[in-house]
């Protein structure tokens, strides 16, 4: 890690741009423009409430589409539910930038977005894609939908009724294994799409999972146990709505997450924001979700592996990080929120550090746009981009990883500029002690 105390002087272009902004009739001197730290922290909480609110509304729309599907299991209704799932991902993924800096979010996150998963816990799988199970996970082939009785932690579990309590309290992370994901977006995604059995090849690799709507139709059932599958899907979607309702309340007036940020000492609060941005950028997104998949060339090593929606999930992560730095957010209804930003605070102290990070954030988003264009315009999905023997595709993903890594360095530059060097994050499992047990 380079020592960021000794930064190069700003380039001439940057200096001139800054000079222009300083000289503009509406721009006061930078020091006067610096927002109050408390105002920045308050606005951060306001953005969180709006973002979790949008994620909640989209999850309710998904629940409604799932109700329609399970009542009338047609291909049209399945397609509508899938669209609703994709729409729900857009606001949720943007909230991920809150996660690592806020223990209340990080402790909760596993309920809604746990990944990767051994989906054989939930339903039937194709052994050719899935392998013969996971030696670390005794439940990797439990197939809850087909099996109303199973053993968890040496005890018999009655799973004859697939309801919210059973999924959340008994089955999720069963046997203490993180890949036993019984709830959240990815469990729902697996139920809506099924496994993507197309591999990563240039021709064969295109297309997401192709579960038929009849998998939810007890009257003309495919895949077996259609009533249990429908019940599972409904319970998991209801839980998602419950969990997001709870999280939005944490950010509302009087909510614990809001109080934790606004009530923090200024340096603590700013550290919380930046920890969220840095940990998501580097260890989580660039590392766990992207680099590992690129190195393993495996179609299940993409974040939204059943729906082939990974390009959007990564894009919205990057957008969410940028939003929180700039203090802005475009709501699902198109309304623009803007307010006192961390960027302005940094610009007043160290314009070069601020400009460097803004430039990096923009660049990362442009690299994510390349992945979106590949999937949406060129028809080459993310799992094909990470396939072995696709050097061009691999390079596109690597370029996004490199952009995130450079962005992390710029975040470290901002941390140094604000004098937050080694501010310990109380009660957080990020930065120097990511807690991997019982997230």
């Amino acid at each position: 890690m380079p020592n960021l105390r000794n930064q190069p002087v700003p380039t001439l272009a940057l200096t001139l741009a800054l000079a222009l902004s300083l000289a503009g009739p509406l721009s006061p001197a930078s020091a006067a423009a610096a927002p109050d730290t408390k105002a920045v922290l308050t606005h951060y909480a306001v953005l969180a409430e709006a973002q979790y609110g949008d994620a909640l509304e989209a999850a309710k729309a998904l629940r409604s589409a799932v109700d329609t599907l399970t009542t009338t299991p047609t291909q049209v209704n399945l397609a509508a539910a899938r669209d609703a799932w994709k729409a729900a991902r857009a606001p949720y993924q943007q909230t991920e930038a809150f996660r690592f800096g806020n223990p209340i979010v990080d402790d909760w996150e596993g309920k809604v977005n746990a990944w990767p998963l051994d989906e054989g816990l939930i339903d039937y799988v194709d052994a050719a894609v899935y392998g013969e199970g996971n030696e670390e996970n005794p439940q990797a082939l439990a197939n809850l939908i087909a099996n109303p009785r199973l053993q968890v932690g040496g005890k018999a579990v009655d799973a004859s009724t697939l309801d919210k309590a059973l999924l959340a309290k008994t089955l999720h992370e069963a046997d203490g294994v993180e890949t036993n994901v019984a709830t959240g977006y990815h469990a729902i995604e697996f139920l809506l799409w099924g496994q993507d059995r197309n591999g990563t090849g240039p021709q064969t690799g295109s297309g997401p999972g192709d579960r038929p709507a009849s998998d939810f139709d007890p009257a003309a059932c495919t895949g077996g146990n259609c009533d249990r599958r429908a019940a599972y899907l409904k319970a998991a979607t209801d839980l998602l709505v419950d969990d997001l309702t709870w999280m939005r309340a944490q950010w509302g007036k009087g909510g614990a997450a809001r109080k934790a940020v606004i009530g923090a000492k200024p340096k603590q609060g700013l550290t919380m924001i930046l920890t969220g941005l840095g940990s998501l950028s580097y260890g989580e997104l660039a590392g766990e979700r992207m680099k590992l998949g690129l190195m393993l060339h495996d179609p299940e090593e993409e974040h939204d592996c059943f729906s082939d929606n990974t390009h959007w999930s990564h894009y919205y992560d990057a957008l969410g990080i940028r939003n929180l730095y700039l203090g802005q957010y475009r709501r699902s209804d198109g309304a623009e929120l803007a307010g006192p930003s961390l960027s302005a605070l940094v610009a007043a102290k160290d314009p070069a550090a601020d400009a460097a990070l803004r430039e990096r954030l923009d660049y990362t988003l442009s690299r994510m746009q390349v992945l979106v264009d590949s999937a949406e315009r060129d028809g080459v999905a993310y799992d094909q981009l990470i396939g072995a023997g696709n050097p061009e595709g691999n390079a596109k993903v690597q370029s996004a990883i490199d952009a995130l890594t450079a962005q992390t360095k710029a975040i470290e530059g901002v941390i140094a500029a604000l004098g937050l060097g080694n501010v310990a994050l109380e009660g957080s499992d990020s930065l120097d002690a990511p807690d991997k047990v019982g997230r």
């Binding site: 890690m1 380079p2 020592n3 960021l4 105390r5 930064q7 002087v9 700003p10 000079a19 222009l20 300083l22 000289a23 001197a29 690592f100 990767p116 998963l117 051994d118 899935y130 392998g131 013969e132 996971n134 030696e135 670390e136 996970n137 990797a140 046997d175 203490g176 294994v177 890949t179 940990s279 950028s281 580097y282 260890g283 989580e284 590392g287 766990e288 190195m295 393993l296 060339h297 495996d298 102290k349 160290d350 314009p351 070069a352 072995a388 023997g389 992390t408 360095k409 470290e412 941390i415 140094a416 060097g421 080694n422 990020s430 930065l431 120097d432 002690a433 990511p434 047990v437 997230r439």
Partner: protein
């Protein structure tokens, strides 16, 4: 803006921007470590010798596997397993280093992929075995394939566990079977990785060692001599984190009933605890060689003593355990064995804490984000 206003603006800029920049560049009070001296000790005393051992061990491994596959017999299998263990030990003696030539071409992950939460590596190795396509074993093809089928983790899957993998698995009519050829291809791949990593440190026009030792030249990453000190501190801290959180806490689980021996790093070859002991010894060596003597006087004596004692206690606790203790990840039926492992885990946790932010602050260094941040 009219052009003639520019000088004025630049003057304004100088007053508004310069002070904080100067403030940041100012040296902190107190004695400064001799970073150049520290860097030399790190490279000559720790890194290069250990990469040399790794290069030698992987070369022996490749030769051993080639010899075994020329005429597979029990003696050859035993020797191949012995050389695998030696290569695994050599790797664990330097696996804490995550910067430098080991980053090039994803070498770090091509040596080893672990943890592998979903068992992707095992799945891919089984698929490659079932496919039995010799074209995938060609050196260039294997090097480009998934990192999980070309390194130590894949080789362990082919050679172990003893209870399941027998000589017959490596034989075919008239000689070596596909499993043997797969193993030998991995051996050659590892030998190539070991050689290339060492060569990048020590040979050629711009060996990496030179970049590190002569600040200001080359890649700029270590242009500031204290940057290497930061990297070493992060190496120590991340190394302790890996041992504490991944290698010990994961298999032990939060309580006796949650123990999961399949999450131990090398349960197939039953080397999980040996790896931990090797890691701790390596971190101790890194500390004693490249940090402690040169930082004496810069930090509080109790910091140094506390760190040295923790390192020594962790190593001694590790060596006092039965060699296969971790591969068995004892649960409620063996409270004594479990307690001893929990003690080791807590010592590794203490080491992680003692090499973290407080120490960085004492040394006026800043720890950045590391690749294990996230979930």
């Amino acid at each position: 803006m009219p052009l003639q206003a520019l000088p004025l603006v630049l003057a304004l800029l100088a007053t508004s921007v310069a002070p904080p920049t100067q403030g940041q560049a100012a040296q902190p009070p107190g004695p400064q470590p001799d970073w150049a001296d520290l860097n030399l000790a790190l490279v000559q005393g720790h890194l290069v010798p250990r990469y040399r051992v790794l290069a030698q061990a992987t070369r022996n491994l490749a030769a051993g596997l080639d010899a075994f596959c020329a005429a597979p017999d029990e003696a050859g299998l035993n020797q191949a397993r012995g050389r695998f263990v030696a290569a695994l030990d050599a790797w664990n003696g330097i696996a804490h280093m995550r910067f430098g030539p080991i980053e090039t071409d994803q070498r770090f992950y091509r040596f080893q992929v672990w943890p592998d939460k979903r068992g992707t590596g095992a799945k891919q190795v089984r698929q490659l075995l079932a496919e039995a396509d010799p074209a995938r074993l060609e050196p260039a093809a294997l090097a480009r394939d998934s990192v999980a089928v070309q390194g130590l983790s894949a080789l362990e899957l082919l050679l172990y566990p003893h209870s399941e993998v027998t000589l017959a698995d490596f034989q075919a009519e008239g000689g070596a079977g596909f499993r043997c050829r797969f193993a030998a291809a991995i051996g050659r791949n590892l030998a190539g990785l070991g050689q290339a990593t060492l060569a990048d440190w020590t040979q050629g026009e711009a060996p990496y060692a030179k970049t590190v030792l002569e600040p200001g030249i080359g890649q700029g990453r270590f242009a500031d001599p204290s940057a290497l000190g930061t990297a070493v501190l992060m190496t120590l801290n991340t190394g302790a984190q890996v041992v504490h959180e991944l290698k010990l806490r994961e298999p032990l689980g939060p309580g006796p009933t949650a123990a999961n021996p399949r999450r131990a790093e090398a349960w197939r070859s039953r080397r999980s605890l040996a790896n931990v002991c090797t890691n701790l010894r390596a971190l101790g060596h890194l500390y004693a060689t490249a940090l402690a003597p040169r930082l004496a006087g810069l930090w509080l004596p109790e910091t140094d003593q506390g760190l040295a004692l923790t390192l020594a206690a962790a190593q001694s606790a590790c060596l006092s355990l039965p060699p296969e203790a971790l591969d068995e990840a004892p649960g409620p039926d063996r409270p004594d064995a479990r307690q001893a492992l929990e003690h080791l885990r807590d010592l590794a946790g203490a080491l992680q804490a003692r090499t973290g932010k407080r120490l960085a602050e004492e040394l006026d260094l800043t720890l950045g984000f590391n690749s294990l941040d996230g979930d």
